[in-house]
Amino acid sequence: MSAPVLAFDGLSIAYRRRGRWHEAVSDVDLAIAPGEAYGLVGESGCGKSTLAMAAMGYLPDNARVSAGGIRIAGEDLAALDAEGLRRLRGGTVAAVYQSPGTALNPALTVGEQIAEVYRLHRGFGHRAAWDAAAAMLERVQIPDGHRVRNNYPYQLSGGMQQRVVIAMGLAGDPDLLVLDEPTTALDTTVQAEILALFEGLRAELDVALLFISHNLGVVQAVCDRVGVMYAGELVEEGPAETLFHDPRHPYTAGLIACIPDFDAAGRPLRPIPGAPPEPGERPAGCVFAPRCPVARDDCRGTRPPLAATGPGRASRCLYPDDTPAVDRGAGAATGTHAGGGTGDAVLRAEGLHLTLGGVPILRDVDVTLRRGETLALVGESGSGKTSLARVLTGLARPRAGTVSRSGRGGAAVQPLQMVFQSPDGTLNPSHRIGFILARAIRRLAGLGRRAARERVPGLMRAAALDPALARRRGGQLSGGQRQRVAIARAFAGTPDAVVLDEPTSALDVSVQAAILELLRGLRDRQGVAYLFITHDLAVVRHLADRVAVMYLGVIVEEGPADAVLGGPCHPYTEALIAAVPRGRRRPSRPRLTGTNPGPAARPAGCPFHTRCPHVMDICRTEAPPRREPHAGHGVHCHLEIPALPRPAG
C-alpha cells in the first residue's frame, strides 16, 4: 500500500462544554489509500462528523486535538499555517456536505463558483476556468453544462445542486473527497443517481473518498472498506463485502439487525437496548459493554484494543467470535400481518383535488383505508404525500372531493390521529409531557381532568416510556423519546387510524427500529389502521399490507405490498425499487432520466412521461387508464399488462 492520502494516528478530539473537556473521538487509527473509498458509519453523536471536519482542518473553536494527529498526503495538519490550510482545502482535500443549498452561494452562478476553484487552486485564467467549469459540469453528468453554468443555485433541483457541489470539489483535482452524508437530504431516486455518479467518477479519476453516512446500504454500494464508529471509537473495520455479512463486533451486528432489509421482509427488527453514552459518561471498559448482548464481566473492566480478526479486518472486541450472526430472514414470512385489510373502510377519500397558490398538488386522488390495515404511501418529495395526509386529517380543505371518516367511538372521539416527521416540533416546548398527554386523553377519550391525569402513566408505558418522564418537557427528551410521546398522544383515545408522516426518518437506525416495533405492537394489539408515509421501501416491506405510489399528485399504482413491490408494476414504481441501495448485488438498474418537473410544471397526459423509459406518443396527451394485473392491484399506465415492468429481485 502506498502512502495514505489521509491518516488519523491515534487521534483523539475533545470538545469543551461548560468549561470541561469531553472526548468526542478517542484514539482513532485509520488510513485511506490513494483512490480508495472508505466508509464511516455510525449513529449520530458517534464522532463521524467530527472526524470529517478534522480531515479538513475545520475543528470549531471549542474543540482541540487532545492526542494523536492527522496526516494528509504525508503532511501533518497541525504543522500547517493558515496559508497551508487554504492550499489544502479545495486543493488536496475537498468536502461535500449534506445540504447543497447552504454549500452554494446563492448570489453567484454555479459556473462562477466552479471556475473560482480552477482559478484559485489550479492557476487557470478566467477564460480557461470558465470553460473548465462547463466541462466539469458535464463530467458530473449535468447535460448541457454550457447552459447550466449560467444558472443560479435556486434554479437547480437538490440533486443538481449536489452535483454542482461535487463538481466544485473535483475542480481542485483533490486526492481526497470528504463526503458527509452527501445523499441524505435527497430522494432515493436522486440518491441512486448520485451514488452511480460516484462509482463512475472513481473509475475515471484517481480520487479517494471518505464517505460518511448513517445508511449502511449506501455505504455498502460505494465503499471498498468500512469503519464502524461507536461512542467516539472506531469499533470495527474491514472490507465492505465481508463486514456487513459477517460482523466481528456486536455493535455492528446490532446495527444490521436494526435495519429493515428490503429483501428480507419478515425479519423482525431487533433494536439495541439502551442508548449510547454521553461524552464524558463513557464507561471505563468497552464502550459498548452496557448495551452488548454478549458482554462478559471482563468487558466492563478492560478497554479492548483494535485487534485484527482476519485479513484486513479489525475489531475492538475482546470476544469477536461471540458476535451474533446476521439474520438474513431467509424463508421468513412476508411483512403482512394477520387480519390486515379485511374489514370495512375506516377512511375513504374520493376524487380529492387540492390546489395551493394556484399549483395543483393533488389530482383526483382516491384512498381507502380499511380497519386494521397498514397502507404505505410512497413517492418522491413533492409528490403530494404530506398534502394528502393534511387533507385526510382535516388540516387542509380540498378544492373538490370527499373524505369520510367512520369512527367507532361516536362523535366525541376523533377517529383519525397523526404522528409527524420532525421530533423537534411535535411537542410544545412549553409544556410538560404529563400535561400534553393528559390534554390529549381529555380531548380524544372524552375523560375528565382527573381521570385523564390518572391514565397518563399507563399510556406512557404502552409507548415504552418511563412514566417518570411525565415531569419533563420535550426539550429534555431524546428524539426517539419525543417521537414515542407523539405516538402516545396519537393513541390517547382509541383511534381507528393514525397517519404516520415519516415518523422515523429523522431518527437513528437503532431508534427507528424501536419505534417501528412499537408501532407494529400497537397495531397488533389495538387493531388500528395506519397510513404510513415514507420514502423507505424497506420499511414498507417491513410493515405495510398495501402500498400506494404517488407521483406529482396522482396515485400511479396501488395494491397489496407484495404484488406492487414484486411486479408487474408501474415504471415509476420500478424505478423506486431499483433505487433502493442494496449493496453491490445490483442487477440491471433502470435509471430515471431527467428530473422531477415539480407540481408547478406538471406535464400533461401521464405526469410521468417526461422520465419514463417506456414513453409512447399517447402518454404525452392522454391520462393513462387503470389496469389490474391482479384483483385489487391497480396500475395507471398506457402499457398493456404483459408489457409492464417486473422489478429485478
Binding site: 388540516l395 376523533q414 383519525l416 390521529q417 397523526m418 416540533g425 411535535t426 380531548r443 380524544l444 407523539a486
Partner: protein, 273 residues
Amino acid sequence: MPWRVLEPLRRSPALAVGLAMVAAWLVTAAAAPWLAPSGPTVSDYGALSQAPSAAHWFGTDEYGRDVLSRVLFGGRYVLLIAPAATLIGLVLGAAIGMSAAYFGRWVDEVIMRLLDAVMAFPIVILALLALTMLGGSTGNVVLVIGLVFAPLIARTARAAALVEVRREYVQAARIRREGPLYVLAVEVLPNIRGPLVVEGTIRLGYAVFTSATLGFLGLGVQPPAPDWGLMVAENRALLTSAPWTVLFPAGAIAFVVVGFSLMADGLRDLEGR
C-alpha cells in the same frame, strides 16, 4: 439557587445596567415622600429660580419649588402610566397579532392592512387626536398610549406566532379539534413569551417617553402636578437663564428610557441563545 437567578445578569451586562437604572427609578419614585426634601408643590418664596446648591441639589424653579423633589415625585406618575399602558398594548396587540397569524388568509390580510394604516400616523399625532377627543386625564393617557402601542406589538406577536402555528404541535391540537382560543392561549402564547417580553420592555421605555411628550403638550396631567414632561414644558423658556429646571426632568426621562432600552437589548441577547 440565588446564583442561578443572577446568571442572566452576569451573561448580559446590558441587562444588569438597564435593570439597575430602572430599579433606581422605581425605588426613588416609590420612596419619594421620604427621600424628597420637600413636597412637590411647596414653594419657597425666599428661593426663586436658584441654581443647584447644598440646600436644593437640583436647584429651584421660578415659583421656588425644589426641582429634586418635583423630579422624584414626577417619577410616580410614569410609574403608573407606563406599565398600565404597556399592559393594555400587550394584551390587545398579542390578541390581534396571534389571531392574524392563526386564521391567516383574508383575516390576516384585513387585520394587517388596518394596522398598517394606523401605523402610518406618528404615535404622538394619534395620541394627540385621541386625547383631544377624549379629554386629558391620567386614565385616558394610559388608554390612549396602550391603544397606539397595540399595532406595533401586534406585528411582533404575529411574526412570532406565524412560526409557531405551523409547528407540528399546533397541527396536532387542530387534529384533536381544539378551538382557536385554546390553541392560541395554551399552545402558542407560551412559546412567543420571549419576543413579547422583549417588545414589552421596549414599549415600557417608549411609554415613559410618550407620556412625557403628552405631558409636554399639555394633554396629560395638569399643572401644578410634577409630571416630567409638564415640567420641561413649563420651564422651557428658562432654558438659558435657569437650565436646571429643564435639564433635570429631561434627564430623568432619558435615564428611564435608556434603562428600559438596555434591559430590552439584554433580554433580546439572552433570547437569541
